[in-house]
Symmetry: C2
Subunit: 193 residues, 2 copies
Amino acid sequence: MTLVLASVSSSRRAILEGAGVAFEVDPAGVYEAAIKRRFTGEASALAQALADAKALAVSGRREGLVLGADQVLEFDGEAYDKAPDADTAIARLRAWRGQTHYLRGGLTAARGGEILWRYRSSCALRVRPVSDAFLERYRGEAGAFLTTTVGGYAFEGLGAQLFDRVEGDFFAILGLPLLPLLEFLRQQGVLDT
Amino acid sequence: MTLVLASVSSSRRAILEGAGVAFEVDPAGVYEAAIKRRFTGEASALAQALADAKALAVSGRREGLVLGADQVLEFDGEAYDKAPDADTAIARLRAWRGQTHYLRGGLTAARGGEILWRYRSSCALRVRPVSDAFLERYRGEAGAFLTTTVGGYAFEGLGAQLFDRVEGDFFAILGLPLLPLLEFLRQQGVLDT
C-alpha cells in the first residue's frame, strides 16, 4: 500500500527517508488559519485537529495510507504558531529565556477519508539564559528557520545552542514521532516485521 | 581557542557541524586494541578510557581544546566493540532480539596533555522481535554501518526500524552528547553564551 505524507515539512520527509521508508508527498493544502481561529482548546488538541484535517483532506481524494502531522508550541498556557516575521521569533525566544515551553504534536493516519490511528507527542524544552548578543548572532544565522518552524529553531541544527534541558523524543521535536509510527506501519503491513 | 575533534567518526562531525560549532578534525590514531585487551572493567569505564586516550594523545602534540569520544556497547554484562564482519553484526542483532542493550559513551576534553572535563552517557535500546526476513533485508541495505558502528546500525537511519523502545539522549546514541558538550564549550569561552 502506498504511504502518503500530507505535509510540506522538509524535516518530516528527511526523517522518513532516513529510516528507509518509501512514501509519496501530497500536501494537504488545508486552510489552517480557519481551524486555528475557531479553536478554543489546548495546544495538544489543536495539533491533533490540524493533523486530522490534513490526513482527512488528502485521504478523501486519493488511494493510500495518508499521514497528517502538526505541531503547536505551548508556553505559559498559550498556543503559538510559526512567527510571522523574524522580529517576532526573536522576541519570543527572548521571552522564553530560562523557561520551559512545550512542543505538542499530533500525528494522524487516514485511509479513504477515515481516521485509522492517532498519536500525540509532547516534548519539553528549556531555553537557556541566552545573552542578547547570542540572540543577535542567532538571528543572522538561523535564517528561514525563524519563521518556518513553530519555535523559530531547528533543534537538529543551530537551535541546539538555545537549550540547556530537553525532555522528549528527538524525532517528535523534529515533528514526527518515528518509533510509534514505524510500529503502526508494521501493523498495517506497510513495513516488514 | 581552536576546538579539535580527535575522532574519525562522521556522525560526530555531523552533529558538531549541524549545531554550528567550528572545529578541526585531528584523529588520534590511538592503538585502541591494546587498551581494550588489557581492560577488565565495565563497558562505561572502557569507553571513558578510550576517550581519555584519544584526547590526551592529540592534546599532547598540538594547541587547542581537544575532544576525545568513544562508545562501547554492553549486552548482558559483556562489552562489545564494532563487529569484524557483516555475519557477526547480523548474528549479534539476532541474539539481541527482544532484549535491551546499552550504549555507554565517554567524552573527554583535554588541553596541553591534561584532562579538563569528562562526561559519561548511557542509552538503553531494545531490539524489537525482528523477523529473519527483515534481518536479511537489513543486511543488504545497512552496508558499511554493520561494521563501522558499535551496534551494527545507524539509529538516525535505517537502524531506527530495529527498535521498539529507546531511552536516552539522541545525540549520545549517535556518539556525542551534544547539550552537555555545548554547556562545557560555553564555560570555556569557545562558544558565545
